[in-house]
Symmetry: C2
Subunit: 377 residues, 2 copies
Amino acid sequence: MKITDVAVYKVHYQSFMVRDSEYHSHPGPGHDAVEHMLEITLENGVKGCYMGPIYQDLVLSAVRPVLVGEDIFMRERIWQRLIHLQRLKTEFSDYVLCAIDLALYDALGKTLGIPIWQILGGYRTKVPCYGSIMVGDTLEGGLDSPQAYADYAQKLVAKGYHALKLHTWMPPAVPEASVKLDLEACRMVREAVGPDIPLMLDPYHYYSREEALELAKGLGELDFLWLEEPMDEHSIASYRFLTEASPVPICGPETAPGKYHSRADWISAGASHIGRTGALTSGGITSAMRCVHLYDSFGMTVELHGNSIGNLHILAAIRNGRYFERGLLHPYLDYEQPKPWLNSIYDPMDDDGCVFVPSSPGLGWDWNWEYIEDNKE
Amino acid sequence: MKITDVAVYKVHYQSFMVRDSEYHSHPGPGHDAVEHMLEITLENGVKGCYMGPIYQDLVLSAVRPVLVGEDIFMRERIWQRLIHLQRLKTEFSDYVLCAIDLALYDALGKTLGIPIWQILGGYRTKVPCYGSIMVGDTLEGGLDSPQAYADYAQKLVAKGYHALKLHTWMPPAVPEASVKLDLEACRMVREAVGPDIPLMLDPYHYYSREEALELAKGLGELDFLWLEEPMDEHSIASYRFLTEASPVPICGPETAPGKYHSRADWISAGASHIGRTGALTSGGITSAMRCVHLYDSFGMTVELHGNSIGNLHILAAIRNGRYFERGLLHPYLDYEQPKPWLNSIYDPMDDDGCVFVPSSPGLGWDWNWEYIEDNKE
């Protein structure tokens, strides 16, 4: 079943999110924004779709020629061509690769008439999730203090979340990240939600070894479930140091480049207790599933980064992953509202703090085609 | 799509193979024999089939209750239940697990209308193979001397094989295995086929470390591509010793228990240069694909053991495996003749020394149902 076309177009929408100088998201004033729709068309008329930050020029000039004419059933051959293209076409990042990989899987699932997780191998139809609280800010009524985190965490538990993760303060929201402030927020959240809610922390990503260890020790006293990425992940040695000494499990790597290869090196080095991958950070489902199998081989649990729809399909197909990351959440935002280009969210949560897995063919996006048609460019 | 029944029945046939005291196959006098057909039936009427040595009582008493009522699309959930059953039901070996796993994949492929390798991710439609010569014997005109191997190897190259593997002599064919005799056969085969045919050796499996290293050094001089399983694979330390010192790549493990887990441990220990798995020895396609992804993560090639139809599907779906093992071959036997329960062989070889991958839905067995019906019990 040949790929006949690859198209990318812009979809305009009113955004209430802004990015800071470290490219973290925060609520902000409404403004016109664009997202990109990727459509991979097959000769049977099926379109595999993905909506996200995709560089139109890059995809059309470098990736489209690789895909058109390929057979959707030659998934691994396409994958090899794509990752070989990444070596010199360095703008073709794993984020863009994720978009391509997920759109290809969407086309494949629609062609076969089944959701992706059934191609990968079904394990469950709903997955436990944790609420992932956004990076700290300076917004009044937002996430501007340890007390604000505690209040919000309590609300999230009342809303049905059975586990929570904090992202604390980092520049430019604060002049310097602070282990003391992080621990204060974590302590107040622990007190607010009680001892039975699993808590995790994703703090500033450029602490020193000593700061990271101090943070880990503090989290140990607060019975945290894991600590992720407190240091630059390009240094495996730093993570081995931390993993050997930390009383809480270290989870990683997330942003380290190298997909399954770097995960293998981290395992060899004993650089984390819990593995980490994800559709978005590892270059799609194809790569993340290799990571999952790698971790399974070493008896390791793997946590998936971010709320990608791809992660839902992966988690529905595997046993050695515990949580779907639901968010990012913020007091200003209503996560239950779908993006304007969707009729419904893909990760509704039930009373048990679990997220249902899409059951329709492909990825299971519930597109609002009318909105997309009216706002495309 | 629910599994509604699991059946196992015997199929009688005239066999010309006998097993020795180490359970190796050799040509022998014709005699009545039985093989077992496993049929997994789905509610859509599809039957997933596997023919092989399956213990009828074991499958019907212990495995059938696990499968009936399960959904064929919940592949990973079924897999987890099966491998957990293996812990205490120790007769439920990885060989039997392979039969179950392949029959499940057959049913899934037939339900989706595609061959298994397209579910796994297509990479190629034909795969290079090597001719795998049977274990040495004492049969006149068989494999009873180094000269017999050399003559036969020459014939196989003339027949179109581009690479060959030897299995040499071991008890009870000889009173004691001999490194000297092995190397003599390897030397004469190398001289017979010339320098351009890749050669591999799978010798006696219980040599000492010193004997294995002596063998490896001799093979280094003969430019062999790899040496596999010259020692008991339960000792990872022995294989690390050999791998560190050997001038030819060591390939393994094959029969070591533990599926992807033991492969991970071998990698951590640096116990082989080339990885090894296979549908039959690792408990099916599900397990072998985890091994493949594990090896890929570590930048390692993996060689698949045996001529299982499952291996063909795996090799068609991956890049980091080089060869399909075609055989076992013996001067007395015509490998091109299908077993009586098949209309055609599943691994025909072309002029390039490559084997085509089945293209029909499921595993692609070409069953002779008339023969099976007439000879079932």
